[in-house]
C-alpha cells in the first residue's frame, strides 16, 4: 500500500512533518512449502510468519534535531490526503510500531530526504497490525 502526501503522520506524541509518502510492505519471514509424491510441482504453500514494514519518507528542509530513536515503540497514525471524490475520512493506525532505521539522502538541488522505517506489531499475533478506520 502506498499513500502519497498524507495530511498528517504521528508517531506517539511526535508529529512528523513534510511527509511525502507512507508505504506499507508485507513480506513472508517464513514460508511453509510442500511437495507431494505425484510430481515435481509444489502442492502446498502458506505463510506462517510475516513482517509488516512501514516506510515514512519526508523532506528535510532545515537542519533539525532528530527526536526519533532506533528501537522506540509507539503508535503510528496517519491520515491519507483526501481527494475530490472522497466523502469519508480515512485514518490508518498501527497501535505498535518500532523504529528500525533512519536513513538520510542528501541532495545538492532540492530537498534532502529522510526515510524512517518501522516494523508494525500485532497486538496478539493474529490481528493485522495495520488498521484502517473510515470516519
Amino acid at each position: 500500500m502506498i499513500w502519497l502526501n498524507p495530511e498528517s503522520v504521528a508517531f506517539g506524541t511526535l508529529e512528523i512533518g513534510e511527509v511525502e509518502s507512507v508505504v506499507v510492505d508485507r513480506e513472508a519471514v517464513l514460508t511453509a512449502e510442500e511437495f507431494g509424491d505425484a510430481g515435481p510441482f509444489m502442492v502446498f504453500a502458506d505463510v506462517p510468519k510475516c513482517r509488516v514494514r512501514v516506510r515514512v519518507a519526508r523532506r528535510v528542509q532545515d537542519p533539525s534535531p532528530n527526536t526519533l530513536r532506533l528501537g522506540e515503540k509507539a503508535s503510528l497514525v496517519f491520515t491519507p490526503s483526501r481527494n475530490a471524490s472522497s466523502a469519508s475520512r480515512l485514518s490508518v493506525i498501527m497501535s505498535n510500531a518500532v523504529v528500525i532505521s533512519i536513513v538520510h539522502t542528501v541532495a545538492r538541488s532540492g530537498a534532502s530526504k529522510q526515510v524512517v522505517e518501522f516494523l508494525a506489531l500485532s497486538s496478539d499475533g493474529a490481528k493485522d497490525p495495520v488498521i484502517e478506520i473510515v470516519k
Binding site: L30, A32, E34, F35, G36, D37, A38, V43, F44, D46, V47, P48, K49, C50, A126
Partner: protein, 124 residues
C-alpha cells in the same frame, strides 16, 4: 492418492511423501582390534522393512488439526499391525506405525498446518 494404514486415511488433509529404508542382509560389525583385520558377519536374514513417511497435516482450525494429531498419536500408541498403502498404491502388509513425530511448531497462516514424519516397521 492418499495413503491408508489399516484401511484408515490418517494423512489425507495435506501432502505426503514416502520413502523406504535400506534393504538387504542384516550384518554385524565390522569389528576391529589391533591384531586383526576388520571382520563383518552376516545373520543370514534380511534387514527389517522400514517405510518413512513425511508430510504436512492441514486444517482450517487448530482444533481440527489437533483432532487429527490425536487420532494419529492414538494409532501409533496402539501396538497392532496393519496394511500400509502408500501414495503410489504400493501395499505393505503387517506393518507397525511405531513413531509419529510432529514438527516443533504448528504453523498458523492462511491455514493451520504442521509438518510431521512417521516411521513404519515390519518386525522380523
Amino acid at each position: 492418492m492418499s495413503s491408508t494404514f489399516g484401511g484408515v486415511s490418517y494423512f489425507s488433509s495435506g501432502p505426503e511423501r514416502f520413502g523406504m529404508g535400506r534393504r538387504g542382509e542384516l550384518t554385524r560389525g565390522p569389528f576391529v582390534n589391533p591384531n586383526a583385520f576388520p571382520v563383518s558377519s552376516a545373520y543370514a536374514t534380511d534387514i527389517e522393512l522400514v517405510i518413512n513417511q513425511t508430510g504436512r497435516l492441514v486444517n482450517a482450525t487448530a482444533a481440527g488439526l489437533w483432532a487429527d494429531v490425536d487420532a494419529i498419536a492414538a494409532r501409533a500408541e496402539n501396538f497392532t499391525s496393519g496394511t500400509l498403502v502408500d501414495t503410489f498404491g504400493r501395499s505393505y502388509t503387517n506393518m507397525f506405525m511405531l513413531r509419529f513425530t510432529p514438527a516443533e511448531a504448528v504453523d498458523v497462516g492462511r491455514e493451520v498446518s504442521m509438518a510431521y514424519s512417521v516411521f513404519y516397521l515390519r518386525f522380523g
